[in-house]
Symmetry: C2
């Protein structure tokens, strides 16, 4: 079982501070995991990541399987050696990526066949093969193959996806127990709760997964079209039931306020492309809301993206310079904006954790949301 | 006059080691200046540059004039403040960029009118306005506006360009003397020798420029179509005549062997887009020649771009990983390859300087060229 230590509970909400332990280091929660889809958190080196507070990154089994492929990862000695990230790595199973392929997939009880988005070649994943792939990748935390559906989906669709997901979860855990790590470190396996917006299905999903027993539990099938209200409701319902003494991971969430909403409801781990993808589009996060740096109004702003921000970008460059770089299509702009957004997310989560440890998460959150909605850039 | 101190002369060649002094720091020569056309050495931060041995960078007046424009540079407090590069900056006058615009330019005795490559808008540069622009940029070393021609050009074309260039050089120096720096540091002005491949013109050009008197002398109109043999001949002819106690800058050169050829003939300063542009195309330099990292043969090479190289890229990543990043269009690849190439160039020049100080430049050069032509990657 993955070691997980609860450190504090906020007195007024379900927010919690904890830490879990992997062979690549301890992780303090709540934690945000930058997305390194295909091995790299786009535009950043491992040095950039650790300099700006990243504890753990995410990789995608689907993407890594297609490129560079398992032979190369195996020859490299696993993803940690390949991409030079020395800290913990969590890998998504590919369930969500395959869900996103639309017409290119076909799901059966046995597994899922899909066509590569690179070249259209045909591939087949099973719950077992996905465990094997993650053995080859060598991620510290592996995710089971699941079936993700859009929100809203009708009850029958949600029920079928849930049944398949728990059946695959059993097979995943079984195969996980029957196989061993390839490299010299321990690997853990998380289950994924599905069930759409239906409480009975979500409950049944959790009960079955907890019976099987996993190192942590993820909530899947959110951030796929539902309202924030609905997401919060499902999250809250799930954290009513999930075990207190294990990690809880809300997949694919989200915006700064979404993160605080979910931390408030007892979630520990998050991943999302929002900070990195937004950065590459020229949108950066500040305490006072988002800022579209390409905008001509920043042309002569000789101040940092964010006042008093301690990231490399803000310590060295003005809005005017970063806008200039976007304006002339200079790729350094992408990195500088990404550094800032990653730092912003890491600091937000670190501050949230601090507030939980100090027992004043609600006040912290109210403060943050108040400033953030003010958009005074 | 810019302080310039000769430190050593190679006993067997004209190679020389020296240093010159600017208000943003001393520069040891021979020196290679990475090209930061529009404010940024593409893909790199100032930190990347200084971590990998860069002493001085180049900016382009033409490009900076168009974007971000002088108002913004003035508001920023000059280019050093804008791009956060704390070391010396040399700016090209725009002569070469305008030369490259082909149909978009019109040259008269008064100056040159040209159309912006961004939006086709019409602009006019004079020798005087180009000095003013560089006052606004705040470069440590400014270059006079010159007329560059292709090689080969007929004698009449070369003569006209040479006459215009020296006439402009006089006006540039005059205007330089009549104006002052805008920011709190000294600025110097270099003359540019033109004359194509014609010795009489080159001689006349140098004699006139030396009579006018500049802080250093550049050889222009090379690396524009002539053979390496012809370039070496012109370079050697020029260093026969140029003053010993001042800096000599060979503009736009070149490949590693070109640099050593030119150092051997007594040149001190170099700039070229080759290391940075090649990197972004996936071509990296090693002691054993160039290596096209996108090539499938490197797919499973779990060794660095170059054995024992101490750059960030080689200390952390394999050829296989860098190839993978190029293969999936990950922009971090561009930066990692650029870091390596800049480090390679800086180390080459540092080693050349060391050899000059040790009095064995010829042996060093022979060794390098022997290995380099071997292409054993």
């Amino acid at each position: 079982m993955m070691e997980f230590h609860l450190e504090a509970r906020d007195p007024k909400t379900r927010a919690r501070a904890a830490r879990f332990i992997t062979d690549h280091g301890e992780v303090s929660t709540p934690v945000f995991m930058p997305v390194g889809t295909i091995g790299t958190v786009k535009t950043l080196t491992p040095q950039d990541l650790s300099d700006h507070g990243t504890q753990i990154i995410l990789g995608n089994t689907y993407h890594l399987y297609l490129k560079p492929g398992m032979n190369i990862l195996r020859k490299a000695g696993g993803l940690h050696k390949f991409n030079a990230w020395p800290g913990p790595i969590l890998t998504d199973s590919g369930g969500f990526q395959i869900y996103s392929l639309d017409d290119l997939k076909k799901i059966t009880e046995e597994g899922v066949s899909f066509r590569s988005h690179w070249d259209g070649s045909l591939h087949f994943f099973t719950p077992e093969s996905v465990v094997d792939l993650q053995r080859h990748i060598g991620s510290d935390i592996m995710m089971v193959l699941d079936q993700c559906i859009a929100n809203p989906s009708d009850l029958e669709t949600a029920r079928r996806a849930h049944h398949l997901t728990v059946s695959w979860a059993k097979r995943s855990r079984q195969h996980f127990m029957n196989t061993e790590e390839i490299y010299n470190h321990r690997q853990y396996l998380f289950g994924i709760v599905q069930g759409g917006i239906y409480r009975d299905l979500r409950r049944e999903s959790m009960e079955t997964l907890m019976e099987i027993g996993f190192d942590g539990y993820a909530i899947g099938g959110l951030a796929v079209g539902e309202s924030a209200e609905m997401r919060n409701e499902v999250t809250e319902f799930c954290t009513d039931i999930l075990p207190e003494e294990q990690a809880r991971y809300l997949m694919g969430v989200g915006n700064p306020v979404d993160l605080l909403d979910s931390i408030e409801r007892g979630m520990d781990m998050f991943d999302c492309v929002i900070p990195t993808r937004n950065a590459r589009n020229g949108t950066v996060f500040t305490q006072n809301g988002k800022l579209v740096i390409r905008n001509a109004r920043y042309k002569e702003h000789m101040i940092p993206l964010e006042k008093d921000c301690m990231c490399y970008t803000c310590r060295n460059f003005s809005r005017a310079y970063i806008r200039h770089m976007f304006n002339v299509n200079e790729v350094l702009a992408l990195r500088l904006a990404t550094i800032h957004n990653i730092y912003f997310y890491m600091k937000l989560i670190r501050d949230a954790r601090e507030a939980i440890l100090n027992g004043n998460f609600s006040a912290f959150k109210a403060d943050f949301c108040d400033k953030y909605s003010n958009t005074g850039n």
